[in-house]
């Protein structure tokens, strides 16, 4: 059976992709953000995931408002990046894992999550930048993209995303392959791009979220979508993906590392890494 080794969550601000392309990791503006990735990469080198499930939101590359699925899962051998309109370099395609995709799809639908399945799916910066951040060598493991609608209300509730995460965790651990799988969430933390409240950041709420994601993610399901918008900003609702990631953990979540830095572009950037410690396989000493 497959093992869920843990979860990672990170912001996906497009400017990060630009900074990577321009090799600005050690510039004073970017250093506090990029320096946070050392422990995450060390942990990944230790747990060596064979595949990753990536929870993200599409920003108008693959999906438009003509058809907007609440949850969409990639089931392709490969996922292409493409021009998003604002000049980020287009990255090479990412490898998929169709066998894991279909296992998760079958398990989720059996679990009453009626997902949209995509045998072709473009992946935007929200998918690509985290892969670049965690695997700067350009060789991430095969991925299963899971797109969550955080564009058009009604969004799936925090509780629904929590339950989705639980179902994804169950799906991974019921995959009859001797593989190690990690779950990645992208987006957030607090930020708002639009309206007179543009530039809104809420450090206090972000801190609370980081603590709860590790210790008690279910506590975050008490917030309505509107409360999340009020507390974390219109785009800070991307914390929904983080809640799903944290909920996917099937054992005890042990925090490996975190980083939090204000601002990257208009966003409170964050990184969180947690190991999934189950009774089945005690943590390495």
């Amino acid at each position: 059976m497959a093992k869920l080794v843990g979860g990672l969550a990170v912001s996906h601000v497009p400017a990060i992709g630009r900074a990577i392309a321009d090799h600005k990791q050690q510039d004073p503006y970017w250093k506090p953000f990029f320096d946070g990735f050392g422990p995450a990469r060390e942990w990944l080198a230790k747990v060596k995931p064979d595949a990753v499930v990536v929870l993200y939101n599409d920003h108008g590359l693959n999906f438009f408002l003509d058809k907007m699925p609440t949850f969409a899962i990639g089931a392709a051998p490969e996922y292409a990046n493409a021009d998003e309109g604002w000049g980020l370099p287009v990255l090479h395609p990412f490898k998929g894992d169709p066998a894991l995709s279909w296992h998760i799809i079958n398990s989720l639908v059996a679990d009453e999550f009626d997902v949209t399945t995509c045998q072709e799916m473009l992946v935007d910066h929200a998918f690509c930048i985290p892969m670049e951040l965690f695997w700067p060598d350009g060789f991430p493991p095969p991925a299963v993209p899971v797109a969550v609608n955080t564009v058009q209300h009604p969004l799936p509730s925090a509780l629904r995303c929590y339950k989705l995460g639980k179902a994804i965790g169950r799906a991974i651990e019921s995959w009859p392959e001797d593989k190690r799988v990690a779950v990645i969430a992208t987006g957030g933390l607090s930020h708002q791009l639009d309206g007179e409240r543009a530039g809104f950041i809420n450090r206090e709420f972000d801190m609370l979220c980081l603590d709860k994601l590790v210790n008690d993610p279910k506590a975050l399901t008490g917030y309505s979508t509107k409360e999340l918008v009020a507390l974390s900003g219109s785009q800070g609702v991307e914390v929904l993906m983080w809640i799903a990631m944290a909920a996917a953990m099937t054992g005890r979540s042990k925090e490996i590392s975190r980083n939090y830095h204000i601002p990257i572009s208009n966003t409170a950037s964050a990184l969180l890494v947690m190991e999934n410690q189950t009774a089945r396989e005690p943590a390495m000493a």
């Binding site: 309109g85 639009d194 309206g195 530039g199 208009n266």
Partner: protein, 118 residues
């Protein structure tokens, strides 16, 4: 949930079904800017491009005025509007400054000031 209106959270529009219907033509035009040829066509003849996508007068005027708050009031969603902003060479700090009535430097300073939390 269903009672979300524009004014519940100050300075914030919940992009819901009503907004998505109102802004459909504008957002559809912005979505087209994923294609470089469409960006070129827009720059070559902005009015004709807006007309081709059937923008309302309010939407067309907001595009012409590069007015972000009016684009949002006309149903624009920021993720799609960002593609228009990219054509116009505006960063999200430029957009934030315009919407909050600050200079870009003041907006950036405001972002930075939030790093000093409790």
């Amino acid at each position: 949930m269903g009672s979300a209106t524009s004014n519940d959270i100050p300075g914030t529009t919940m992009f819901d079904g009503a907004e998505a219907q109102k802004g459909y033509a504008l957002n559809r035009m912005c979505f087209s800017f994923n294609d470089a040829a469409n960006r070129t066509a827009f720059l070559a003849d902005e009015d004709a491009y807006c007309a081709r996508y059937g923008l309302s007068r309010e939407q067309h005027e907001a595009v012409r005025g590069r007015n972000v708050l009016k684009l949002i009031a006309a149903g624009g969603n920021i993720y799609y509007l960002a593609k228009l902003a990219g054509i116009l060479g505006l960063s999200v700090q430029d957009l934030g400054a315009q919407q909050t009535g600050m200079s870009v430097d003041a907006f950036k300073a405001m972002l930075l000031s939030q790093a000093r939390g409790a």
